[in-house]
Symmetry: none
DNA sequence: CTCTCTTTTAGTATCTGGTACTAAAAGCGG
DNA sequence: CCGCTTTTAGTACCAGATACTAAAAGAGAG
């Protein structure tokens, strides 16, 4: 970008930051062959915020957009947690979870809430589901808020049985029994041991 | 969230930052009633980057475009379909499907591939999973391409049993038995039944 | 050429939200 | 009580800024 005067530079700056909001003042100054101070003045004049604000704004929009929370470690929102004992999470059924025809949630979303909770409740650095038996007691519909409760029934050194019940209000919606294992040689993760809790 | 010890706090921290990556250490410390230093140590232990990096990552993803196919009717890509007989789909394990720590896929994604295939193979306008028994035979890792095959074992007027096996190359990875039901009064929808095949 | 006005550059102090490191204090388990 | 883990405190430093002051460089008018 050969830029000859302030007007041209400011126009170019605006376009540049629109297509690439991640540039710092220093990087921009380099591209335009001017000092950092000049770029700052230009941003002031144009009312363009600093790079962190710009990035933040982009991120904000994404979270507001297609709400794919379904990617994280835990499906739903953690409400309560007592490691190796029980845990509760809440999951709200939205458009993207249901069959459009019936507005009934696809089973694997209920499974996902229960499964991720069963794994999270186990007090171990790494825990994996080995098997599960599940029943979809009644359909769950768009808009319902499902509360899942996981209870650790047995815990041995390398595996545990976790039962999960999911309700919507008073109704029982889902129930499952999960066998969760801790792979051999992965019993401790970070620092020291941690046979903690109660 | 009442949190009593380190493990619980770290589990809760992970869940919290997934649903809200914008929190600073100071804000988090406030929520958990511990010092900022403690939160820093927790983040280090869990390999969670600082707030700016987290925000940056979220923004990055947005610019890359939301490609989550995980929202549609079928998880994975349909390869083969003979209604009421069998179906095959392929699912590639990506970043968003694995535990970052171990790069092992979370169980509910394998379940989702199998479940959505089991439902899709049934020749009915509406089909729902009623129950399932599943086994995660061996962990599936980032980058693997999982091929699931669903076979309809029995079909009665209002329900069917569907078995699903998932392989990665030669390895058996997952197997499940699904009971799929067609709600009463919803037996015929579009045109005729479908003895079509390939 | 000089005076004036605009534009650019330089430099300092301060802020946020950290990293990296050291060290002390608090808890707890035997 | 000792020894180990866990938590807290504190320091130095960093990036990428804001806010402000001031000097230098250009450009045009007379």
């Amino acid at each position: 970008m050969a830029v000859r005067n302030r007007r041209e530079r400011q126009t170019a700056l605006q376009a540049l930051l629109e297509s690439n909001p991640f540039l710092t003042d220093e990087e921009i100054a380099g591209r335009f062959g001017v000092s950092v101070q000049t770029i700052r003045l230009d941003r002031m004049a144009l009312g363009i915020p600093e790079v962190r604000e710009r990035i933040r704004a982009v991120a904000q929009k994404r979270l507001e957009g297609p709400r794919s929370l379904d990617t994280g470690e835990l499906i739903g929102e953690l409400i309560e947690l007592e490691l190796d004992r029980m845990a509760i999470s809440m999951f709200e059924i939205r458009e993207e979870h249901v069959f459009s025809r019936t507005r009934i949630a696809r089973g694997h979303h209920l499974f996902a809430q229960a499964n991720s909770l069963a794994v999270a409740v186990i007090d171990a650095p790494v825990a994996l589901t080995a098997s599960a038996e599940v029943r979809f007691v009644r359909p769950a519909y768009l808009g319902e808020r499902l509360v899942a409760k996981a209870v650790v029934k047995q815990k041995k050194r390398d595996h545990a049985q976790v039962d999960v019940w999911t309700r919507s209000g008073e109704d029982r919606v889902f129930e499952g029994r999960f066998l969760v294992v801790q792979p051999r040689g992965e019993r401790e993760g970070v620092a020291g041991s941690g046979e903690d809790s109660h």
